[in-house]
């Protein structure tokens, strides 16, 4: 389940680093129009990916004991 986030997709950190790199490149003002549009598109996709990974963690911190987790997982597996 946790590994399903994507074997080919970049890790959160790699994606975030790439976004930083893209913004630096764009800030430099050296990118051509074509490159700018490509970079903006790539950056948006990466941010969505990062946001997705953040969202996938959950919506609120949930505390439970190991036995509770095991019970829940077994219930899920049984149903």
């Amino acid at each position: 389940m946790s590994g399903a986030a994507g074997e080919s997709a970049p890790s959160y950190e790699a994606a975030a680093a790439r976004v930083e790199e893209i913004i630096r490149r764009l800030d430099s003002g050296e990118a051509s129009l074509e490159e700018t549009l490509a970079l903006v598109g790539e950056g948006k996709a990466l941010i969505e990916l990062c946001a997705g990974q953040l969202a996938a963690v959950g919506s609120a911190l949930e505390e439970l004991r190991l036995d509770e987790l095991v019970a829940r997982l077994e219930a899920e597996a049984g149903s």
């Binding site: 913004i23 549009l37 941010i47 911190l61 190991l66």
Partner: protein, 453 residues
């Protein structure tokens, strides 16, 4: 100690020393001597070395390492002994002991008394010459831990956890800690501070004593067996090394080394590393750090940064297109603007040409008018001349002509002879041939007849 001083002097040293420079003793003293001090020192060394070799137990303090020798003291509540070893020997001794002892550590040393006799230029000194050493108490534990660490290292078990990929954003974190400990609170607080919104699974276990190790091992094994758990933290507050012994348990360390889930150790000890610290994927000094290591992404900041990055990207995209579109528009406008400029210029030139030609025509006209005036004047002058000069001329000419008029000649007495047909007869032959003549006089004409030829 008093008998030590007396003994060598009285028995062995005195007779040999006697022959040399017999100096006077203290008057009235019944003691033997005086003996040369170096001789006595040598005898003392021999006597001290003859003492049985023993093992001593005490606290090691004041460890000093010089170029050739290592010095320290061994103390307990009742006394102390200065100890020394050759530097080269010391390194072998400590290697055998499983590590160099540190200040305050309980050690057992083996060796015997020694005495450096000194010389004219160096001070003498007593020391217990150390030939071997063992770390006792906590020191002993450290030595055992060190041996186990080497063993695990040799088996490659210190690296297996470090090779596991630590997810930047785990969804489920398992935590092994004491149920009522401060570490539990610290981990939770740190996770919340970083805005992490995942599932936190507690696997409570005693984390204090020697008996804790099996419980911790079991808890970690169970956490790791739940596929949902992405990373496991073992956390507890600080404590003495003895308190932390459970984290040096061989079974625990071997179990952790073979887990497929990365383990973050934070057993809170700065000076002594536990074996778990060496085996775990990440070792932290506090539970708070452990939580930070588990969630490498500060979710609160990450969300903010994502929003900022997205805004900047949008802005870049918008600006890139907009500014270039503006450029394009201005470029596309350029030919039209150029044409317009050219047209305007042509119009201007045309107007200028017209104006100029008008000016020129006007100028021409003025010139023509001037010329006409001149011509008129000339014509008038000419007319005047015709009217005035020509009659005079005519008169002069007519007078000149009149001068040549035959009438004038006739008036002067000449006669013009002509044939009856009117042809002038200028010779006698012509007149004779004609026979009849018409003679013209100034006042009239007469017919005449030639009589003789």
């Amino acid at each position: 100690m008093s008998h030590l001083h007396a003994d060598p002097a009285a028995s062995g040293a005195a007779p040999g020393a006697a022959p040399r420079a017999p100096a006077a003793g203290i008057p009235g003293s019944s003691l033997p001597g005086p003996f040369p001090v170096g001789h006595y020192a040598g005898a003392l060394r021999t006597k001290l070395r003859s003492f049985a070799r023993v093992q001593l137990l005490g606290e090691l303090i004041n460890l000093r390492v010089s170029r050739a020798r290592v010095y320290f003291e061994l103390r307990d509540a009742d006394g102390a002994i200065p100890c020394a070893a050759w530097r080269a020997d010391w390194e072998e001794i400590t290697a055998r002991a499983g590590g160099a002892p540190r200040e305050g550590m309980q050690v057992v040393v083996a060796g015997g008394c020694g005495y450096y006799a000194g010389s004219a230029t160096s001070s003498p000194g007593f020391s217990f010459d150390v030939l071997d050493l063992r770390l006792a108490g906590a020191g002993d534990l450290l030595a055992r831990i060190e041996r186990l660490r080497k063993q695990l290292h040799a088996e490659g078990l210190l690296d297996t956890q470090r090779r596991l990929a630590l997810p930047a954003l785990p969804r489920t974190i398992g935590v092994v800690t004491g149920e009522g400990g401060k570490a539990r609170h610290d981990v939770l607080a740190a996770l919340q501070r970083r805005g992490w919104a995942g599932r936190l699974v507690w696997a409570f276990a005693p984390v204090q004593d020697r008996h804790a190790a099996p419980a911790i091992t079991r808890a970690l094994g169970e956490l790791a067996s739940v596929a949902a758990v992405d990373v496991a933290i073992v956390a507890r507050g600080g404590g003495s090394l003895v308190d932390l012994l459970c984290f040096c348990d061989e079974t625990l360390c071997r179990t952790v080394a073979l887990l497929s889930v990365p383990v973050i150790a934070s057993v809170g000890h700065h000076t002594d590393r536990t074996l778990l610290d060496d085996v775990a994927a990440v070792s932290c000094s506090t539970p708070t750090h452990a939580a930070d290591a588990a969630i490498r992404v500060d979710c609160v900041r990450a969300r903010r940064e994502q929003a900022q990055a997205a805004a900047r990207l949008r802005e870049h995209g918008r600006r890139a297109v907009l500014s270039r579109a503006r450029t394009l528009v201005s470029l596309s406008r350029a030919p039209a603007a150029h044409l317009e400029r050219q047209r305007t210029r042509l119009h201007q030139q045309l107007r200028e040409i017209r104006a100029s030609s008008r000016r020129r025509a006007e100028a021409e006209q003025r010139v023509t008018q001037r010329r006409a005036v001149v011509l008129e004047r000339k014509a008038a002058a000419e007319l005047r001349e015709c009217r005035e000069r020509r009659p005079r001329e005519l008169e002069r000419l007519s007078l000149a002509l009149a001068a040549h008029d035959p009438q004038r000649t006739l008036e002067r007495g000449y006669v013009l002879a002509r044939s009856p047909q009117g042809a002038p007869l200028t010779t006698a032959v012509q007149a004779s041939a004609a026979g009849e003549l018409k003679l013209r006089f100034a006042d009239g004409e007469l017919d005449a007849q030639v009589r003789r030829r």
